[in-house]
């Protein structure tokens, strides 16, 4: 409750202050609230998910026009039109999402530009929707027999909806699904942890669209009149503007940005003509100039600046005890877990892997070594489904997996780390590790928005904390992962991989950047995991580390298997020595 104190204060100030405010201020605040609702959606979409949309104004338009048309022509109640508007929004968002989300990053913004423009011209040219003159005579919202006729009464509804959207968004971001959404900017890592990135992109796109639609619905019943102008591309760009100026990384930035932009425009409209003469019409110029300066000075927007001025609240630094998560049964020791058979990977004419073969058994550490460029990381990517092989078979726990994508393979019980560390630098170590446990939770974003996921969340975080402590990260659990030294970040990756409770662990150069003591600790930990029955496949350059730990060693060169055997055999194998040191002439 203590955490929510600023919010409660803000909400009560808004509620109690309303009767004291002049009419005009209430009107301004209503618009701030409506815009902030759209901007909250953009924070989720753009700030969290890394997707950019210019078309939010068009979703606002759908909400507004659906209500305007159905209430005036078909006399549907405003509550019915809200559902209708959201249904249309759902259909449009699903379609747009389907065609753009699978493409690379630049297509969503460009797709939404086009759709924003066409919808605007469509509103303006359809006779049924009143053309450019619009639709008037929209009835007020009826709340349990109480007609919300004035801006003063709708004020409560608008701000209640906005605050609800903010609280539920914050709840959602602070959960299993939220962590998945915050990882969308690194899809390779997310997918390897079993996160269905397309699903989460679609979810946040849908949430942003629905928030915009609700804002439009409220707008229509506040104005009681709609025309196409407020739903143009220019307005769509302005919403994005508000979110960026306020601070795109935080939902409160949306409110702040909407407030700044609307108030600034209002003041400029009031004061500028007095300063430079009435005919000049220079508000847009002044506004743009101020914005350029602001963006140069505060790239992260205003909200982080404001936070710096406020006293820092103490973050929660304790882990509540919880019942451990269920574990998957490990295959019997000595049984084959992974079998790679004749795998070939081609990139155009380049053969990165040529008819590679290897097997890993439960309770065994298999080391894959070879000179740089031998194709070790390529085979890792083939096995974990990031980049499927061109030919050959891969069996994991008896199942063919070479055609599966990486979330599906992760679900079967394979987890991995990356040669180039892929952590979310802004998240804490604990949260990063908890991403690994993604597949062990099942509550969805709606449940987490309303805090119905807390039991499961406690168990997930307890598991993450357990893995972090086991890897000697107990002291750094609440530090941002990006602040740790590179070697420690690798350890965080291993803890994250283990949080998924895998049967097979793929480690890509886990010891690189570690000091001697840390390497010893890591070797000891991996030895312990082996004795628990885990299968481990690792790529490593540190020969001492490999020879001390591995049960068997496979040597690769030029994409092919050069040798395989016990560590001591490999160390004396002439072919291996030649590959590493060159032929003795």
């Amino acid at each position: 409750m203590k955490r929510r104190l600023p919010l409660l204060l803000f909400a009560s100030a808004l509620a109690l202050g309303q009767p004291l405010l002049p009419e005009f201020t209430v009107t301004l605040l209503n618009y701030v609230g409506l815009c902030a609702l759209v901007a909250v959606g953009l924070v989720l979409l753009t700030g969290v998910g890394g997707l950019t949309s210019f078309g939010q104004a068009a979703f606002v338009g759908i909400g507004a026009y659906a209500s305007a048309y159905l209430t005036t022509v078909h006399h549907v109640s405003p509550w019915g039109t809200l559902i209708a508007g959201m249904a249309v929004t759902t259909a449009v968002a699903l379609f747009l999402g389907f065609i753009t989300l699978r493409l690379s990053g630049h297509f969503l913004p460009l797709g939404t530009i086009s759709w924003g423009i066409s919808l605007y011209f469509l509103f303006g040219n359809l006779e049924d929707l009143g053309g450019h003159t619009g639709i008037g005579g929209i009835p007020p919202i009826d709340l349990f027999g109480w007609e919300l006729k004035s801006g003063r009464t709708l004020y409560y509804v608008i701000w209640a909806v906005l605050l609800a959207a903010i609280v539920t968004s914050e709840n959602m971001l602070d959960s299993r699904d939220g962590r998945a959404m915050r990882s969308l900017r690194s899809p390779v890592m997310s997918k390897a942890m079993g996160i269905d990135t397309t699903w989460y992109q679609a979810v946040i796109f849908m949430i942003a669209a629905q928030l915009a639609c609700v804002s439009g619905w409220l707008y229509a019943h506040l104005q009681r009149f709609v025309n196409p102008t407020p739903f143009s591309l220019a307005q769509g760009i302005e919403y994005l503007f508000m979110a960026v100026v306020g601070g795109i990384a935080n939902v409160w930035g949306a409110v702040f940005g909407a407030g700044i932009v609307i108030l600034l425009q209002h003041w400029l409209q009031n004061w500028l003509p007095a300063l430079v003469g009435k005919t000049a019409n220079l508000e847009a110029v002044a506004f743009g100039l101020i914005m350029v300066v602001v963006l140069h000075r505060a790239r992260e927007g205003f909200w982080p600046l404001l936070l710096r001025l406020l006293p820092k609240g103490r973050a929660i630094r304790s882990i509540e005890p919880a019942e451990p998560l269920p574990r998957r049964p490990l295959p019997p020791r000595g049984s084959v877990v992974l079998e790679v058979k004749n795998v070939t990977k081609r990139y155009g004419g380049l053969v990165a892997n040529n008819r590679m073969n290897l097997t890993v058994k439960a309770g065994e550490v298999l080391a894959l070594i070879g000179p740089n460029g031998a194709g070790k990381s390529t085979i890792f990517n083939c096995i974990s489904g990031i980049d499927p092989p061109s030919h050959g078979q891969i069996r994991f726990l008896g199942k063919r997996v070479e055609g599966l994508d990486s979330p599906a393979i992760a679900r079967l019980g394979l987890s991995r780390t990356f040669q180039h560390v892929r952590l979310n630098p802004a998240m804490t170590v604990l949260e990063n590790v908890a991403i690994g446990a993604h597949l062990r939770g099942h509550k969805n974003f709606l449940q987490s928005a309303w805090r119905l996921d807390r039991d499961e969340e406690r168990r997930l975080l307890a598991e993450a904390a357990h893995q972090a402590q086991r890897h000697g990260l107990a002291g750094q659990m609440f530090e941002p992962a990006g602040s740790l030294p590179l070697g420690t970040q690798r350890i965080v990756e291993i803890a994250r991989a283990l949080a998924s409770d895998p049967s097979l662990l793929l480690l890509d150069e886990p010891a690189a950047g570690l000091r001697h003591r840390e390497k010893q600790a890591l070797a000891q930990l991996l030895g312990q995991l082996r004795s628990e029955g885990l299968a481990i496949l690792l790529v490593e350059h540190d020969v001492e580390f490999v020879m001390g730990l591995a049960d068997r060693v496979v040597v690769m060169d030029f994409g092919e298997r050069l040798a395989e055997g016990l560590p001591e055999e490999i160390q004396t194998n002439p072919k291996v020595l030649e590959a590493y040191l060159g032929a003795a002439q």
Binding site: L110, S114, F121, L122, S186, L240, V285
Partner: protein
């Protein structure tokens, strides 16, 4: 519809399409080199057209004052920076380039009677007034945040668009203007006539495209821009300054935009806000043409032009709807063909 009308529509479409193609090329270029989604592209079109129109009306175009102000600002900032570096010798060059040149332009505009000049000279003056706004605006608005995210650069571009649009209204008023055709009249072939201005547009567009191709293939600076587009850090390591690449790119984009404005103003009335839609249609062309391939972008833009002229004949109210919805099937097709992209954002 008979063949006569169809041919007329095709002619119209290709003429407009050529303009969109030039815009598309400039947009792709700017994005590739600087990562800026160049929303203010259309403002250069409008400034070009309206500056030429006010020269032809015998006025000193107000864009000149923008040039002088921005030039002095850049001269001041760069001189201070050079002084702080202890590089006092380059101050003379900075002043000459940023303050003296605009002043000379202003002097020229007052020394001659612009309304009585020959048309090619008026066009040259227009280019001299508007094109330097490209690198100047890059220096002031984008260079300080050149390393920021694509999103921030985009928002800065939007702010610059608002400023330039507002200034356009302030400078030229809300009324549209036209300019004289380069060559009046039409070429008659059989029963069919082609306006000379349309030929001018196609000819200059083609020349510009070939010129750009040569610039990028042959010239040192063109190669430097391509290197920057492919790998910014790598280009800097071999000694290509990002700032130079940015300014040069913006100069090329401003040149293309201004020329487009000069070319279309005899056939359509240009308003201060006409450019935005022209630029956006360039975007649509660029998307259709895959955003990465220059010939693809140009072909896409031609398609947009033709589609636009036919839809304005059959369903003129829905012209924009049709043009902008056209990219949906294109995106759909690309989406169905592409395996889900899984590269991390840089």
């Amino acid at each position: 519809m008979d063949t006569q009308i169809a041919l007329l529509l095709v002619q119209d479409g290709i003429t407009n399409g050529a303009i969109y193609a030039l815009n598309a090329l400039a947009l792709v270029l700017v994005f590739a080199v600087t990562r800026v989604v160049f929303i203010p592209m259309g403002e250069y079109v409008a400034y070009g057209a309206l500056t030429l129109a006010s020269l032809q009306a015998g006025n000193v175009p107000p864009t000149l004052w923008l040039l002088v102000v921005l030039g002095s600002l850049v001269a001041l900032l760069d001189s201070i920076a050079a002084w702080r570096r202890g590089d006092a010798r380059s101050i003379a060059r900075i002043l000459a380039l940023n303050a003296l040149m605009p002043a000379l332009c202003a002097g020229a505009a007052y020394a001659v009677e612009p309304g009585k000049l020959a048309q090619p000279l008026q066009v040259l003056l227009t280019l001299a007034f508007v094109v330097p706004l490209g690198p100047l605006i890059y220096r002031l608005a984008f260079e300080p945040v050149a390393e920021a995210s694509v999103l921030l650069l985009l928002i800065v571009a939007v702010a610059v668009h608002l400023v330039m649009l507002g200034l356009g209204l302030f400078f030229f008023g809300a009324e549209g203007m036209r300019t004289r055709a380069f060559t009046a009249g039409a070429l008659k072939i059989g029963g069919f006539s082609i306006q000379f201005q349309a030929l001018w547009i196609l000819g200059i567009a083609l020349a510009l495209i070939i010129g750009l191709a040569l610039f990028f293939e042959r010239s040192f600076y063109g190669k430097a821009l391509r290197a920057t587009a492919m790998n910014r850090v790598g280009a800097r390591l071999v000694g290509i300054p990002t700032e130079m690449a940015g300014k040069l790119t913006f100069a090329v984009a401003a040149l293309i935009g201004t020329l487009c404005g000069v070319l279309i103003s005899p056939i359509t009335t240009v308003y201060y806000d006409t450019g935005f839609l022209v630029g956006l249609k360039g975007f649509v062309g660029a998307i259709i043409g895959a955003l990465v391939s220059y010939p693809g972008a140009a072909l896409g833009a031609l398609l947009v032009g033709v589609l636009e002229s036919f839809s304005s004949f059959f369903a003129s109210a829905f012209k924009e709807v049709i043009v902008f919805t056209m990219i949906i099937p294109v995106l759909l097709w690309r989406s169905l063909r592409t395996r889900a992209a899984a590269e991390d954002e840089s």
